[in-house]
């Protein structure tokens, strides 16, 4: 017998959604994550755009999935109780050459049935988005583009999978995979799991995880990118996602009005970096591009900068692969390798795709008990005052505000911890404490005390994010 029917390796967006969709079948699922929390790798840092789908080659899986995923995104976010803003996007161009590129994308989008696309003149675009630069010559408007908080979506999917019976195994790093007569044995740094099937969603390590048992024709060449975040109070913020298509065909820029009210600018692009470190050149690139497209922005309003890492899939000869790589190297073994943009948009679609095929392979029945609904953490900030007052009467902790920038109460922080946050950043990802303009300098201490109390550890053991990131006492005794 097996411990589990399916072991999903990797608790990023893809792994969380694979687990969630596998729960639609009568299958016993384990979700393995090497770190102490889910969505702490690629999923925690990216452009946060739900793409409309005009960018991909018609007829490809990527194109089909993106258009379908976009259409279903409101319903998905309703089910998972995750905020989603369909703010629309304007891809703007400067000059004839770039205008032609937009026209191609427009026609591409039309042929795939991307709804509502319109080609606008520079003037029309500025009417819709008055903060756009004078020099913009045309724009492709996509009303269906939107933005979602990537880690909130992933955490929601994980919570929903767990509520439907999936077992989340954190701090569990896969070291080896062996084929057995009945399935697979997965060796980790904690215990060994036997299972009938494996779904490999190990993100930056997905190629190496597959190689533990099967050869892989695909390798990941990570690249890094830099982003800036401007304060919600910044002047001249656009209300649409603004993407810039440069005339010289070089790297553009995306500007996203986030659900938190801040403005996200990026990414720059660099090669072969995996340490999530920001580069000076990358940031200057972002600033330069931003000044071209949205000249009214004041970059002095920056509250944070960060770097992301993307898992570029490459062939063995080093040529890059444009499509999603979905490997099926052995029976009941599936790998998602090097899924980057639009991986956030397609996370649920990809999870469903793999789950459907795996279920067919295993002959798994539908799970009539599957409940797709999850309830998010109640945010006092989003409630009308009367409801907020009622909540405080019910639980006084909702009245005690810890994060002054983002208006987060003690009760919300405690709920984040109850749901699995084990670090200051884990709390931040779940309820936003520390995401605002003071970047946690006023609430971190209170959050640390609540974490220490809830986890039953001294405050010196409280971490920022992961082992070795203890906030106090410097490197004392930890070297």
């Amino acid at each position: 017998m097996w411990d589990f029917d399916v072991v999903v390796i990797g608790g990023g967006l893809l792994g969380c959604f694979a687990a969630r969709n596998l729960c639609r079948r009568k299958l016993h699922i384990a979700l393995l994550e090497a770190r102490e929390d889910v969505c702490t790798g690629i999923s925690r840092a990216n452009t946060a755009i739900v793409y409309p789908g005009y960018d991909h080659k018609p007829g490809t899986l990527k194109a089909e999935m993106t258009v379908r995923a976009n259409a279903g995104f409101d319903a998905l976010c309703r089910e998972l109780d995750v905020p989603f803003s369909r703010c629309g996007s304007l891809m703007v161009s400067y000059g004839e050459k770039a205008d032609t590129v937009l026209k191609k994308k427009y026609e591409n989008g039309l042929s795939m049935g991307v709804p509502g696309l319109r080609l606008l003149s520079g003037e029309e675009a500025r009417k819709m988005e008055p903060v756009l630069a004078e020099g913009v010559t045309s724009a492709l408007y996509a009303p269906t583009a939107g933005t979602v908080n990537p880690w909130k979506l992933g955490i929601a999917a994980c919570e929903n999978a767990a509520a439907n019976g999936a077992e989340l195994c954190l701090n569990t790093r896969v070291l080896g995979i062996r084929k057995t007569a009945e399935g697979y044995r997965i060796e980790t740094d904690r215990e060994t799991f036997s299972c009938r099937a494996v779904v490999n969603c190990a993100g930056l390590a997905a190629d190496r995880v597959q190689e533990l048992l099967f050869p892989t024709p695909v390798h990941i060449a990570p690249d890094a990118a830099d982003y800036l975040i401007l304060d919600r109070a910044a002047a001249n913020k656009p209300t649409h996602i603004v993407q810039y298509e440069p005339e010289d065909g070089g790297k553009g820029l995306s500007v996203v009005p986030t659900l938190e009210g801040s403005l996200l600018l990026g990414p720059s692009e660099r090669e072969n970096e995996v340490d999530f470190a920001v580069s000076e050149e990358g940031l200057s690139f972002v600033c330069e591009r931003a000044a071209l497209v949205l000249p009214g922005l004041n970059l002095q309003d920056t509250i944070r900068s960060f770097a992301s890492v993307r898992p570029n899939p490459q062939n063995v000869d080093g040529s890059s692969i444009g499509s999603f790589v979905i490997e099926h190297p052995g029976p009941a073994f599936w790998s998602l390798i090097g899924v980057k943009t639009p991986g956030l948009t397609c996370a649920d679609e990809l999870g469903r795709y793999v789950a459907d095929r795996l279920a067919a392979e295993l002959g798994a029945e539908e799970n009539p008990a599957f409940d797709p609904h999850r309830t998010g953490i109640r945010r006092v900030r989003d409630l009308p005052l009367s409801q907020r007052a009622a909540l405080v009467r019910e639980n006084p902790d909702y009245g005690e505000i810890l994060c002054h920038c983002e208006d987060v109460s003690k009760a919300e922080v405690l709920e984040a911890i109850r749901r699995g946050a084990v670090s200051v950043d884990g709390v931040k990802r779940r309820v936003g404490a520390g995401m605002g303009r003071c970047q946690g300098s006023r609430c971190e201490r209170a959050v640390m005390e609540l974490l220490a109390e809830a986890l039953g550890v001294p405050v010196t053991a409280v971490r920022k994010d992961g082992p070795g990131s203890e906030i106090l006492e410097g490197s004392h005794g930890k070297d």
């Binding site: 340490d275 007052a389 405080v392 005690e400 300098s441 971190e444 920022k464």
Partner: protein, 298 residues
């Protein structure tokens, strides 16, 4: 809904002084509120001396100064509502307060904002490098050390030589930690001369002028910073386990965004402009409180 003639938001040096002055001007209906559970604002975490020379004629520590202010407050009939976050101020002259006792809506005739300032953070500098544990703002570090007796690190770099940066450099030194350098981008220290003499000079703390931090190193914990000499452009790696930023204060006025011109609104203390001394913030509070109190009595 509660009503009051005068609402004062923020019970630091400026807010308490404003409340007392308004009361002394015979305004009998004053509400003073603060998010902290005690009066004094930032003062209780300022263990150093240097407060109260002009107000009380002698040099006091922050907590002693706060205590004197609080004593004066208790001699008045000002209603003090501690432990309340003001969620919003509306143009209809209401404020919504949130505390563990519930939500309160207060209607006021006049409002004095005395919300102080907040610190600029390392995030706003958009530095290159990693985002590790071990980075604090000066005020945050001061609160952790002085009010909670937490130990932050052993080898400290402080960016910024304003008063807070210099006072903290001494604090770390007195705690037995090594302050490797106080970095200052200007050619002169930023704070008061008396703080330079008492904190930096007296404790032989290295201060480096025309220098700044360009890059953060280390993950998951900070292991060093790249320091740039702004004149020569030369860069060097300075290993450390803690970075404290004392890079300036920003007046905290988010609550009145869009209401700045309202005739019923006055600002006092650091939310109006950043003062060098708590005494001068208090004096401004007293002046504004007295004026507003008189106008309300008429």
């Amino acid at each position: 809904m509660e009503r009051t003639e005068l609402l004062i938001i923020g019970a630091g040096a400026a807010g308490i002084s404003a409340a007392c002055a308004a009361w002394d001007a015979d305004c009998m209906d004053v509400v003073l509120t603060d998010r902290l559970p005690y009066p004094g604002g930032i003062l209780p975490q300022c263990l150093h001396e240097g407060f109260g020379l002009s107000a009380f004629g002698k040099e006091l520590t922050g907590p002693a100064y706060a205590e004197r202010l609080a004593e004066r407050l208790t001699c008045t009939g000002v209603r003090f509502l501690p432990g309340r976050e003001v969620l919003a101020v509306t143009k209809e002259r209401t404020a919504v307060l949130s505390g563990s006792g519930g939500l309160e809506e207060i209607r006021f005739e006049r409002l004095i904002l005395a919300t102080g300032s907040r610190e600029r953070t390392v995030g706003s500098l958009a530095l290159a490098g990693t985002r590790p544990a071990g980075m604090f703002t000066a005020g945050q570090a001061q609160e952790m050390i002085n009010l909670h007796h937490w130990q932050l690190g052993d080898r400290i770099v402080i960016l910024g030589s304003g008063d807070l940066g210099m006072i903290l450099a001494r604090r770390f030194t007195l705690e037995g930690k090594q302050v490797l350098a106080v970095l200052e981008q200007e050619a002169h220290f930023g704070g008061l001369a008396r703080n330079y003499h008492r904190c930096i000079e007296a404790h032989h703390i290295p201060i480096r002028y025309r220098c700044t931090v360009r890059e953060i190193h280390g993950m998951p914990r900070i292991t060093g910073v790249t320091v740039e000499d702004l004149d020569s452009g030369e860069r060097e790696l300075l290993p450390c386990d803690t970075l404290v930023t004392a890079i300036g204060l920003v007046p905290e006025r988010e609550l009145i965004r869009g209401l700045e011109e309202a005739p019923w609104l006055s600002l006092a203390g650091n939310c109006s402009r950043v003062h060098d001394l708590a005494d001068s913030a208090a004096a401004e509070g007293a002046k504004i409180g007295g004026q507003v109190g008189k106008q309300l009595v008429k």
